[in-house]
């Protein structure tokens, strides 16, 4: 099954903005999430809740499965862009680009860190003390 197009599930306004701004859209998308992230500080929200608030339903990631299923990176990348795009997006993160680490480069599965139904994880911090904010 091909990855669901996230844009089809967004409000018409957000969708048209994304189209208008082309490649900058992903940054805008993050900006649009900011108020939600702040709300999360008061009422803890998981990444899956942020997806849900944007109209991404269970089926979009898990298909019609009746139980918890593992979601492969391909599904995430269908909406969030290629690994190369994500490497670029975090190129200025210090002290190390988490999407292009000296160990795994751009090959880590998204949900090693970006857990959807539980607190996100900073995998690097098993050995480092990097203050990454993991959405």
């Amino acid at each position: 099954m091909p990855p669901t197009n996230l844009r089809e599930r967004m409000s018409p306004m957000v969708s048209s903005l994304l189209t208008y701004f082309g490649h900058a859209s992903r940054l805008l998308f993050l900006a649009a999430l900011l108020p939600l992230a702040q709300a999360a500080a008061q009422t803890p929200a998981l990444s899956a809740d942020l997806h849900k608030a944007k109209g991404v339903t269970c089926v979009d990631c898990h298909g019609n499965a009746k139980k918890k299923t593992f979601v492969a990176a391909e599904r995430c990348l269908g909406c969030h862009g290629s690994p190369a795009d994500l490497v670029k997006k975090t190129a200025n993160v210090k002290p190390e680009n988490p999407h292009d680490s000296p160990h795994w480069g751009p090959t880590m599965e998204c949900n090693v860190c970006h857990r959807q139904h539980e607190k996100t994880v900073n995998w690097c911090n098993h050995c480092h003390a990097y203050g990454f904010k993991v959405p």
């Binding site: 593992f70 210090k94 002290p95 190390e96 000296p102 160990h103 795994w104 480069g105 880590m108 599965e109 949900n111 090693v112 900073n122 995998w123 911090n125 098993h126 050995c127 480092h128 003390a129 990097y130 203050g131």
Partner: protein, 512 residues
């Protein structure tokens, strides 16, 4: 929650996980569900998957083994319980000890497999199983050449590691084991080896004759949740190769073998280095050896977690700078001594010590990017003067200045009259500012003990005979290193023995 707190809670959890694992072992409560579940030694009614060779672990040893087994004509599956590949190998420093390597020849360093073996045996207190140690020393350079020419890994530097009598460790281009693991993985995949992560072996399965027939796994295992994933039985027609690493992160298991290494001691290892595969092999009749020889690395910093960046600064400047006890300002041990000697000396002092290098030592020996990272996290600090170093670490200034002068006298004479530290031909007195200093406190780094193997990488059972269809290589085995593994010999061990295991496992006659 802050990162520090998260890290602490993770360690707490690991401790609890280790205890849970242990009680599981004692009660024999390995996961068994449903009526069709097979007991130890019994074949399942139905196999879910079939391969000629199944490898457990995606580090240097496992991937080297998988490649050789595939080249021997076997269909090969490699599993790893973690969500990322590479185990400890992908976070190691990328140093590979190889006797008589091309970098040594270029630098005019005289070396031989005999000298490397002598160093390994001396550090290992002669507890090394001689045929295993000899195998690694004699084939170390051949293994390095295989990594360079067949695998395509790039090595760019010649380094010294404590306890070796010469510079013989060549380092990957990126100062990380990833510089070898990732090319190994790419090669394995290009040959048609299947690699599946998040799949944990829960037990080995043997036929009535004791021959290993396959294994029970949990696919979709979500480390460290032991109840996660779904059970599957994988038939291994020719062999199973265990290359799942050691148990430095398993506090409970560590303490069974060395009660002194309490939870107070952190580890440099990846969080999954908890040794369940060793226990599973023992449950299937394998013998273990020297499990109480657990090594602490003397070059880690209490100012960053895990392995961090400090080891690649500290270990580069031994023999060029001096290590002192901040309480006295005096040196206390041979900086170029082996890991165990140095870690023991620091632990005996009871608090972190410091090592100091000047601009010449740091500039000549340390990769700039490594220094930048180590300074970025605050583990390595820069000072304009030696007095400033002393004040920053509460070292008696006068005593420290006298000790630096004494050390510099030894460097001039190329002879350390106090501790016999190795002083290199290009070492210079510690005199050129600015100066760099870092605190050191040991962390658990390597478990020398593990499964008994012979020189064919066959796992030996309690009947003193090889267990048919079971091979092992890398840190999961015991005997290669004896009491102390020298730095950079792990890569040589893993590639040499991983290849032997793969060749032999791939050549086994299929049992079905």
């Amino acid at each position: 929650m802050s990162d520090e707190k998260k890290d602490l809670s993770r360690r707490g959890f690991l401790g609890a996980g280790g205890a849970a694992l242990l009680s599981g072992m004692v009660l024999g409560a390995l996961p068994l569900e449903g009526k069709e579940s097979a007991g130890a030694g019994q074949l399942p009614k139905q196999w879910d998957e079939t391969y000629d060779v199944v490898v457990v672990g995606t580090g240097f040893a496992g991937l080297s083994a998988a490649i050789e087994a595939r080249l021997a004509g076997a269909s090969v599956l490699v599993i790893d319980k973690m969500p990322v590949h590479g185990g400890n190998s992908i976070i190691n420093g990328g140093d590979f000890a190889a006797a008589g390597n091309s970098f040594q020849k270029e630098a005019g360093v005289q070396d031989s497999p005999e000298l490397m073996l002598k160093d390994m045996l001396k550090a290992g207190s002669y507890l090394n199983h001689p045929p295993l140690a000899r195998m690694v020393a004699e084939h170390s350079n051949e293994a390095l050449e295989w990594c360079k020419t067949y695998i395509g890994a790039q090595f760019t530097r010649l380094n010294f590691h404590g306890g070796h009598s010469v510079k013989r460790s060549v380092q990957t281009y990126n100062q990380s084991g990833s510089g070898l693991v990732n090319p190994l993985l790419a090669k394995a995949k290009s040959l048609g080896v299947k690699v599946v992560l998040r799949t944990k072996m829960t037990r080995l399965i043997a036929g009535k004759d004791g021959r290993i027939a396959g294994l029970e796994v949990r696919h979709g295992y979500k480390w460290p949740d032991e109840a996660s994933g779904t059970r599957s039985f994988i038939k291994a027609r020719r062999s199973v190769i265990l290359a799942a690493g050691g148990f430095s992160q398993n506090v409970a298991l560590r303490q069974i073998h060395d009660p002194r290494i309490t939870a107070k001691f952190e580890s440099t290892n990846h969080p999954g280095a908890t040794g369940e595969a060793i226990l599973a092999a023992c449950s299937a009749g394998a013998m273990d050896v020297q499990m109480d020889w657990i090594q602490l690395g003397p070059w880690t910093s209490p100012d960053e977690p895990g392995f961090g960046h400090t080891p690649q600064v500290c270990e580069r400047i031994v023999g060029y700078g001096l290590m002192v006890d901040p309480a006295t300002g005096k040196r206390f041990f041979k900086e170029t001594g082996n890991r165990k000697e140095r870690a023991d000396a620091i632990i005996a002092i009871g608090h972190p010590v410091i090592i100091v290098g000047d601009s010449f030592a740091i500039g000549k020996q340390v990769v700039p990017k490594v220094l930048e990272k180590a300074m970025g996290v605050g583990a390595v600090k820069r000072f304009d003067t030696l007095d400033a170093v002393a004040r920053a670490y509460n070292v008696p200034v006068q005593a420290f200045q006298e000790e630096v002068a004494r050390w510099n006298g030894f460097v001039d004479k190329k002879k350390d009259a106090d501790f016999d530290c190795k002083i290199f031909p290009d070492s210079q007195p510690t005199a050129t500012g600015p100066f760099y200093a870092m605190r050191l406190w040991p962390r658990v780094h390597h478990t020398m003990g593990g499964l008994v193997v012979n020189a064919e990488a066959q796992v030996i059972g309690f009947d003193m005979k090889p267990i048919k269809g079971l091979y092992a290589a890398g840190e999961i085995t015991g005997g290669v290193h004896g009491a102390v593994r020298l730095g950079s010999v792990a890569m040589a061990d893993c590639v040499v023995n991983g290849r032997i295991a793969g060749k032999n496992a791939g050549a086994e006659k299929a049992w079905s």
